[in-house]
């Protein structure tokens, strides 16, 4: 079952056909709540209200609080490579509305290279359900909120339908819960384009639990004055990252962790393989020339060159 939400494609798979409807309702409920809390493109979202009130405390609901905590965890765990305070940098670079509405090509823009405010500019007061951003700071939760939504949606659907296996994919970020299909694992196609047909050529890997996520600079690109832009911002410069990797796929205990590690790998560049190996995270890195590197226990026999 597929539909669109959060500005991307949603895929729901269950191992019990009778559970599909209940699972869909549960997933839709989670995604709608995440959209209302965490969207940067809805004027009525909690996140937009928080960004507008930078410099002073603003109330935040439990879901936005959890999403902010997840984003700050990702920032701390990746040494700041995945930073939620890239909101302004993304906006200046042209990613200022839902991606489908962004002009593919437009005139020149002025991008001043400077470090983003940094995740330390976000203060959370859990006891009073409020948050404060340092003046001039804008938060974007796009990277981690989508993965967190996949985790929450899979858990919610699993809770709704019982032991049936659940897979939720959000634009290529995948979380699984419950009992896997007959073979004991979920077969996942690793491709450059997550919307290709399932019988397309490409690596197929099997996961049993947790999540798998891909971050890519070939996704969500646009052009300004002939210069290619993309949505992965290097916190050190505030501009789209110039990485030796064009995509990174990681398997981890949750989709959130997989997403954070995958995005961090793109930003870290040459240091990514060692960082992933140290954490025992299986990953598939595709260089800008299409060469593939398997690290952290990614099955070498599955590696195929990516064209």
């Amino acid at each position: 079952m597929e539909w669109r939400a959060l500005g991307t494609g949603v895929r729901l798979v269950t191992t019990d056909d009778r559970a599909v409807e209940a699972a869909r309702i549960a997933v839709e409920g989670v995604l709608d709540a995440v959209d209302r809390a965490c969207s940067r493109f809805r004027e009525d979202s909690e996140l937009c209200a928080l960004n507008r009130s930078a410099g002073s405390w603003a109330p935040v609901g439990p879901l936005l609080l959890e999403a902010l905590e997840a984003a700050l965890w990702a920032a701390a765990a990746t040494g700041g490579a995945v930073d939620p305070t890239v909101g302004r940098a993304l906006r200046v670079a042209g990613y200022d509305r839902d991606f489908a509405a962004i002009p593919a090509d437009a005139g020149p823009i002025v991008v001043r290279l400077r470090r983003v405010p940094g995740w330390q500019a976000v203060e959370l007061d859990r006891s009073r359900s409020r948050a404060r951003l340092a003046g001039g700071t804008e938060v974007d939760l796009g990277s981690t909120a989508k993965a967190l939504a996949a985790d929450r949606a899979a858990s919610a659907a699993h809770a709704a339908v019982g032991p049936a296996g659940i897979l939720v994919g959000l634009g290529g970020d995948i979380a699984v819960a419950g009992t896997p299909p007959d073979g004991g694992r979920w077969p996942i196609l690793v491709a450059e384009d997550h919307s290709v047909a399932l019988d397309s050529d490409g690596e197929v890997v099997l996961i049993e639990d947790g999540g798998i996520a891909t971050s890519s600079t070939t996704v969500r690109r646009w052009t300004r004055a002939g210069v290619e832009m993309h949505h992965i911002i290097d916190p050190a410069t505030g501009a789209p990252v110039n990485s030796p990797w064009r995509s990174a796929t990681v398997v981890a205990a949750t989709c959130l962790e997989a997403n954070a590690a995958a995005t961090a790998a793109i930003v870290m560049g040459a240091g990514a393989p060692a960082w992933l190996e140290e954490r025992g995270l299986p990953a598939r890195l595709v260089g800008v020339d299409g060469a593939v590197a398997a690290v952290g226990g990614w099955p070498a026999e599955a590696v195929e060159r990516s064209e």
Binding site: V13, E66, E69, L72, W73, A76, A77, A104, E123, L124, D125, R126, G169, G171, G172, G183, W186, P187, I188, L189, V190, A191, E192, H194, S195, L198, E203, V204, V205, L206, I207, E208, G210, T214, S215, S216, T249, A252, A253, T254, L256, E257, R279, G280, P282, G287, V288, D289, A291, V292, A293, A294, G296, W298, P299, A300, E301, A302, E304, R305
Partner: protein, 153 residues
Amino acid sequence: MRSHSSGAPAARPVARPSQQDRKTQEREVVRRLTIGAGAAALGMAGYFTVASATSAPVAFGAPAGDAHPGALMGGDPLNDKVFIRKVHVAAPRPAAGGVVASAASRAQGGAAPVAGGAPQAQVAAASVASPQPPAATPRPTPVATTGGTKPVK
């Protein structure tokens, strides 16, 4: 003979503190100042400790659920005024079940992984040494795809 007497009253001798007394007084002043400054410093330390506990980025809170790893936070008292906050941020964890290649990939063999660093071209390993190559196993049909999206043309 000159007389020293005059109409003016004779000056009464002023009791000058001894050197020891002056030292005692100075010691007392220094002690008071030290105590005052120390107390102020402790007070400020307390203030900053409280401020750091309430106002500094509280980025390490445990998550509401177990969907993602949180961080452990603890405090060790240095004295009755100052606490040291210790924060441990959990690293991304590998999946318990790991990831394996599909049976078809295992049967076909594959390219050796790049050890790390800059990406290099892969060369598929040919299984010419095997007298009886494993039977071809049909690739399982994937149930989902992970990946990006091609740039819009």
